[in-house]
Amino acid sequence: MTQPLWEAFIGGILIGIAATVMLLFNGRITGNSGIIGGLWTIRKDKQHWRMFYAAGLIIGAGIYGSLHPGPVPLVINAPVPALIIAGFLVGYGTRLGSGCTAGHGVCGIARLSKRSIAATLIFMSTAVVTVWIVKQF
């Protein structure tokens, strides 16, 4: 771990600011899974802001990448078949459970939503157990 902890903290503050901007101006929760999943119905419901938000995520990473000295560290250790299964579970699961780390974890807990606190505890502990099980093989 070469990165200082305060960078993680600053990154978290930026995420909190992004969610604050979205709620203050647009009155919406910054739930990444809801926004991205909502892209499936964008032609019908005309909620184009979702596309702008998703583009913003990629542009933000592009800005960071262009300012960052050297390549941005990105290590995906899971093999491709596991990634396909995982991606599918993350997509389906976050929609069924009405949220992810952002919607439940960052926004829902801030509203003291019982559903979000429960969901966050469940997906965090399930993920911890999953990592432990994968390590046994």
Binding site: I13, T30, L57, G60, H68, A86, V106
Partner: protein
């Protein structure tokens, strides 16, 4: 139109935040979830930083009658911990633990063009589409 610009700005700040905090890097996320190994506490600091801001700003903003650029707040009203919530969180947790990737970082990482990022994002979007089909 204003709402689109706001969404774009929010996305850009969120994307930068995910990169600065390294949440975009699946190895860092797995390091946090691997509590019995060489535990990486960074994700906890990301959550603390984010919740310090939203925990302060959300209650203040939600006291307003309406947001600045929209007629009303679109905030979930459901308060019941039901089966779909629990089952969805479990499925998400398994996928997150297998990959170290959740929806925001999945899209953000596309900026760096790794083949595995694209594969994950396509599978995730398909999973979201299947959910949508199953409900309509």
């Amino acid at each position: 139109m204003h709402t689109n610009i706001i969404a774009l700005v929010s996305g850009i700040i969120f994307g930068i935040g995910l990169c600065v905090s390294q949440m975009v890097n699946p190895a860092v996320v797995i390091g946090f979830l691997d509590v019995t190994g060489d535990w990486d506490p960074r994700l906890a600091f990301v959550m603390i930083g984010a919740l310090l801001v939203t925990g302060t700003s959300f209650p203040l903003i939600l006291k307003r009658r309406q947001p600045l650029c929209a007629a009303e707040f679109s905030v979930p009203a459901n308060k019941v911990v039901d089966r779909p919530l629990v089952l969805g969180a479990v499925l998400f947790g398994i996928g997150w633990g297998l990959s170290g990737i959740c929806p925001g970082p999945a899209v953000t990482a596309l900026a760096f063009g790794l083949e595995k990022s694209v594969i994950f994002a396509v599978a995730m979007f398909a999973g979201m589409g299947l959910f949508k089909r199953s409900r309509h």
